[in-house]
C-alpha cells in the first residue's frame, strides 16, 4: 500500500511540475509580449484604430511682377454627401440629383470616387448657387446626410491669359505619386501638371491639415482625436508682366488671323497659320516678361476636374495641341535669324572681315559635280559686305561663309558658336517639358542616320550641310526660347542667361520673401568688335530702306528707341513657310528682346515682323494698332 502511496506522491509531484512549467511558459510569453516587444505592437495597435484624414492646404497664389494676381483660390460652395446616408437611403441621390439638376449616376460616381477620403462626406456637386445652399439647409429632413461645405478651387482672374506659363493643376496620378510618397502626397491630392504650377509645386503646395479620427474595426468613425492645422502654400511672384503678356498674346493672335486671310502664291491657298509663339525677355537678366503660345486653352476647365471630352479635344492633333507650350517645346529651323551666329563665327575664325565684300549674283555653285544654292527668288544683290548682307538677308554671302567654315577642324566653328549662344541644348528654364533642339555636325548627322536610316538616308557630312546650316536650315532646330536667349546674349554683350519666369517666392505665413536671382549660364564666344559689325547689320534690318523689316517698322520712333532685329523664313518640307522675327532694343542699352515664330504664315518680314512691331509699339508706349501684313522677301 505504501508503495502505491509513494508512487501516488511521485505522480502528483509530476503533475505539479507540469503545472508549474506550463504556468512559467505563459508568464514568460506574457513578459515577452507586454514588456519586451510591446512598443512595436503599440504602433500597430495605433495604426489599427486611428485614421489620418488629410485636407489640402490652400495653394499659394501666382502673381505677376507688379503684384497683379494671376492665379488664386476661390471659395466654392460644395454639396457633400455622407456615404452611410447614401447606403441607407437608395433614393437619396436621385432626389438630390433632381433638385440640383444633375444626373444621379454622376453623383454616385463621385460618392464612389476613391480620390475622396472615405472618412469624410463625398463632394458631389461644386459651385452650387446660393439659393440652392439655402434650400438644402432648410430642407435638411428631406436630404439626410447632405451638407454644404466651402471648398477652394483654382481661379484665374485673367482667364486664358498666360495659360501656358501658369500651367494647371489636377489630381495626382500613380506615376506622379510614386516618387513623391515620402513628401507626403496621397492619392487624390492635386498637383501642378504643367507650367509654374508644376515648376513651383513644392513652394505652392503648403502642408495639409491632418485630422486624427478614431475608428472601430469596421472603419466607422467614432470621434476626432484632434487636428493639426494646415500651412498655406507660398505665393510665387513671376517675372511676367501681365500687360506685356496680354500685348504679346493679342499681337500673335492678330498676326496669325491676318496670315489666314493672306494668299500663299507658292501653295496657291491661304496661309494655314495654325500656331505660333512669342517670347519677350529682358536681356539684362534673362527674365521672361511674356511668353505666348497659340493655340491656347482655359485653365479654369482643369480647376474642377476636366471632362473627358474636353481633354480629348485638347489632345486631338486636328486642334494643334493647345496644351503644348511652343515657346519651349516647339522646334523650328531658325532660318535667316541664324545668320547672326554664322556672322560671328566667320569673323571670329577670320573667314571674312566685316568690310570684305563679295558679289552676290543670286546663286553659288559648290562642289564637284557642282550643287547650286540660290537666294530666295534667285535675286541678285550685287556687292555686299557683312552689314548689307545681314540687312537684306543675302543667302549667297552666307553660303560662302558656310562653305569656308566647312573644314575638318573640330569643333566646327558655326556649330561651336551656335552652342556657345545656347542653341541645341535646354536653356534650364524652370518650366517643364523643355525641348532640346539640335545643332547638326558630322557626328550628330552620323548618329541620326544610324538611329533612323529611312528619315536620314546619309550619314556622311557634306559641304552642302554646312551651307544649309549657315542660313539656319538643314537639320538645325531650336526652340523660340533658345532663339530669344541667343539674341539676348548678343544684345547684352555675350552673357547667356538661364531664362526664368520666377521672380520671388513669398512665405505668406511669416511674411518673408526670397528673390530668385538671374543665373548666368555661360558666355557666348564673341569679341566686341565683331559684335559691333553684326549689330550694324541688325540695325539696318529695321532702319535701312533695304532692310527686310523696315516696312514692318515704318513709322516706329527709332530715334527715340533704336531697334535691331532679323527676319527669317524657314522652309519646311510639305508645309508652308514658318515666319520668324527676333529683335531687341534699345540698341545702346537693350531692355527688351522679342522673338516671334509663326507656323505656316509665310515670310518673316511679312508675317512675324509686324507682330513684333506691334509689341514694340506697346513696350515703348505707342498705342498698338492692328497687326498689318507688309510686303517682304525674307
Amino acid at each position: 500500500m505504501s508503495s502505491t502511496r509513494d508512487s501516488s506522491r511521485l505522480r502528483l509531484g509530476i503533475l505539479g511540475v507540469v503545472v508549474l512549467s506550463l504556468f512559467a511558459t505563459l508568464l514568460a510569453r506574457l513578459w515577452y509580449l507586454q514588456v519586451l516587444v510591446a512598443p512595436d505592437f503599440q504602433v500597430e495597435a495605433q495604426a489599427n484604430s486611428v485614421r489620418l484624414v488629410y485636407t489640402e492646404a490652400p495653394r499659394g497664389r501666382i502673381l505677376d511682377r507688379n503684384g497683379d494676381v494671376l492665379v488664386e483660390n476661390r471659395i466654392v460652395p460644395t454639396v457633400v454627401v455622407d456615404r452611410v446616408a447614401v447606403a441607407r437611403d437608395p433614393d437619396l441621390l436621385p432626389r438630390l440629383g433632381a433638385y440640383l439638376g444633375k444626373d444621379p449616376a454622376e453623383l454616385q460616381r463621385r460618392v464612389d470616387d476613391l480620390r475622396f477620403s472615405q472618412y469624410r462626406p463625398a463632394p458631389v456637386a461644386d459651385d452650387v448657387r446660393k439659393e440652392q445652399v439655402v434650400y438644402l439647409r432648410e430642407h435638411q429632413a428631406e436630404f439626410p446626410g447632405v451638407d454644404v461645405v466651402q471648398l477652394t478651387q483654382r481661379h484665374y482672374p485673367h482667364g486664358e491669359l498666360a495659360a501656358h506659363v501658369l500651367g494647371y493643376v489636377g489630381a495626382i496620378n500613380d506615376r506622379e505619386l510614386e516618387p513623391r510618397r515620402n513628401q507626403g502626397y496621397r492619392p487624390g491630392d492635386s498637383i501642378g501638371k504643367s507650367g509654374v504650377e508644376l515648376a513651383y509645386e513644392q513652394a505652392l503646395r503648403g502642408q495639409p491639415e491632418v485630422e486624427k479620427l478614431q475608428v472601430d474595426s469596421r472603419d466607422r468613425v467614432l470621434r476626432s482625436l484632434g487636428k493639426q492645422p494646415s500651412v498655406p502654400g507660398h505665393d510665387v511672384v513671376l517675372t511676367i508682366d501681365i500687360d506685356v503678356q496680354a500685348l504679346a498674346e493679342e499681337s500673335l493672335r492678330q498676326g496669325l488671323e491676318t496670315a489666314r486671310q493672306t494668299w500663299d502664291p507658292d501653295q496657291l491657298k491661304r496661309f494655314l497659320a495654325p500656331a505660333g509663339s512669342v517670347v519677350v525677355q529682358d536681356p539684362r537678366d534673362g527674365a521672361i516678361l511674356a511668353m505666348a503660345s497659340y493655340p491656347t486653352y482655359d485653365p479654369t476647365t482643369f480647376a474642377n476636374g476636366i471632362s473627358t471630352s474636353h481633354f480629348q479635344f485638347l489632345q486631338d492633333p486636328a486642334n494643334h495641341y493647345p496644351l503644348n507650350n511652343r515657346a519651349l517645346q516647339g522646334l523650328y529651323a531658325p532660318a535667316s535669324t541664324f545668320k547672326l551666329v554664322t556672322a560671328i563665327a566667320a569673323l571670329s575664325n577670320q573667314a571674312i572681315a566685316a568690310n570684305t565684300t563679295i558679289i552676290d549674283n543670286g546663286s553659288i555653285a559648290v562642289g564637284d559635280p557642282p550643287t547650286v544654292f540660290r537666294n530666295a527668288f534667285g535675286t541678285a544683290h550685287g556687292r555686299v559686305d557683312m552689314a548689307r548682307a545681314i540687312s537684306l538677308s543675302s543667302d549667297v554671302y552666307f553660303y560662302e561663309l558656310g562653305a569656308k567654315l566647312d573644314n575638318p577642324r573640330k569643333p566646327y566653328p558655326i556649330q561651336e558658336t551656335a552652342r556657345s549662344f545656347g542653341m541645341g541644348r535646354i536653356t534650364d528654364v524652370e518650366l517643364p517639358f523643355e525641348a532640346e533642339g539640335r545643332v547638326p555636325d558630322p557626328e550628330s548627322k552620323q548618329k541620326l542616320h544610324e538611329a533612323n536610316p529611312e528619315a536620314f538616308p546619309y550619314g556622311e557630312w557634306f559641304t552642302g550641310d554646312n551651307i544649309n546650316l549657315s542660313i539656319g536650315q538643314g537639320d538645325l532646330v531650336v526652340t523660340p526660347l533658345q532663339l530669344i536667349n541667343a539674341y539676348s546674349a548678343f544684345a547684352n554683350g555675350g552673357t547667356v542667361w538661364v531664362p526664368r519666369v520666377g521672380g520671388a517666392v513669398r512665405d505668406v505665413v511669416h511674411g518673408t520673401s526670397r528673390a530668385i536671382e538671374g543665373r548666368q549660364h555661360s558666355k557666348a564666344a564673341m569679341e566686341n568688335g565683331h559684335r559691333d559689325a553684326v549689330m550694324a547689320g541688325l540695325r539696318r534690318v529695321v532702319s535701312d530702306e533695304e532692310g527686310t523689316a523696315s516696312a514692318a517698322f515704318a513709322g516706329f520712333p527709332l530715334s527715340r528707341f533704336s531697334l535691331a532685329g532679323k527676319t527669317g523664313t524657314a522652309e519646311v518640307a510639305g508645309k508652308q513657310d514658318t515666319a520668324l522675327y527676333v529683335g531687341f532694343g534699345p540698341i545702346e542699352d537693350p531692355r527688351y528682346a522679342v522673338a516671334v515664330v509663326m507656323e505656316e504664315s509665310g515670310f518673316g518680314s511679312s508675317a512675324a515682323a509686324p507682330v513684333a512691331r506691334r509689341i514694340f509699339d506697346g513696350l515703348v508706349g505707342n498705342p498698338p494698332g492692328p497687326v498689318a501684313r507688309v510686303a517682304g522677301r525674307d
Partner: protein
Amino acid sequence: MAVTTRYSAGTARGGRDAGAPQRHLDIVLLVSVLCLTAIGLLMIYSSTRSQQAAAGLDPQNFLKRQATFAAIGLVVMVVVMFIDYRAMRDVAPVIWVVIVVALLAVLTPLGSAARGAHAWFQVGPLDFQPSEAAKVGLIIVLAAYLSVHRGRLEGPQVLTALALAAVPMGLIAMQPDMGTNMVFVAMLMGLLLVAGARPRHIGALTAVGLVGVVAVFQLGMLQEYQLDRLTAFLDPAGDPQRSAYNLRQSQIAIAAGGLTGKGVFQGTQTNLSFVPEQHTDFIFTAVGEELGFLGAATLLALFGLVMWRTWRAACLAKDDFGTLLCVGVLAVLLFQIFENIGMTMGITPIAGIPLPFVSYGGSSLLAMFAAIGLVLNVHMRRFT
C-alpha cells in the same frame, strides 16, 4: 492507517478534524475563484458594451447574463459541495448514462445548432451546452472507476477507462467540438497518470494520440479553415487577412497593454472590437490590453492559486476517489487555461476553448463552479 501516518500533522493540530466538514472550507480557493469571476465580469462588460451600445442595445446585456450565471453557478457549487463526494461514486454509472443520453439528445432536433456546431439545448432565453456538464460528469465517472482499480491498473482496466471516455467523446466529435474533446484527452491523461497507469500505457496512449492527430490531418478530416486555425500560430505573419488575423489582432491587443495596461474601458483594440470573439474565447486579450502585464500576471497568479489549492486538495484527500476527483479537475483547468491563454499569445493552436471563470458563457461557468464544488467537497471532508 497509512493515511493517518502521513497526514498526522493534520490531526496533531487538534480538533481540526472534528466537527462539520464546512468548517474546513478552503477559503483561499473560494476567494480565488470569486476574484477570477469578478475579473471576468469586468472584462466581458468592457469588451461588449461599446458594440452593444453601437447596435442600440443595452450595454450591460452580456454583463447581466454572465452575472446571472455566476449567481446560479455559486448555488450549483454549494449544492455540489454539500453532497458527500463519496456518495457520488455509487451513482457514477447513472451519471455516465445521463451524459451519454444528453449528448445523444443534443444531436437530435432537440438540440440547436449555432456557428456550425450542434451543441446546445435552448431553454427559454438561455443556452445550455451538455458537453460542459459532461466534463464534470466524466471526471466523477473516471475517478470512480479508476479508484476502484487503483494500484492494479493493467491493460484491460486502462482500455475500459478509455472506453468510458470514448463514447461521450465520439458523440462530442459528431457535434463537432474538437476543443472539448481535447479537454477530455487531457483529463484522461491526468487521471491515468495519477491513478497509476504504467509508463508504457501512457507512452502507448501518447503514441496512439499522435497517430490520431496525424491521421486527422492526413486524411483531410478537417475543413481547411480548421486546419488554418490550428496551424496559424506556427506562422503568424502568414496570412493576416484570414486565420492569422485573429492571432495577429490578439497579440497586438495584449502587447499594446504594456506593463501597466491602458486602463479598464480604455483599450482601443478591446473597445473597437478588433479581436473577434473577444468576450468569449479571446477574453484574455482584453485583460492584457486594459490591465497590462501586471493585471494579466495577477490573473495568472489567481489561476496559480486555484491550481495549487486543487493540487493540494488532491494530496490531502482522504481516499483515492477524492484524490482522483481533484486531479481530474486540475487536468481540465490546467489544459483549458494553458490552451486558451497560450492561443491568444500565439504559442498554442487556436481552438474553441473558454477560459475558466473569465470567458462569457453560462454552461462553462456552471461546469467550472461545479468542478470547484467537487474540489471544495473533497477538501473539507479530508478528515471525515
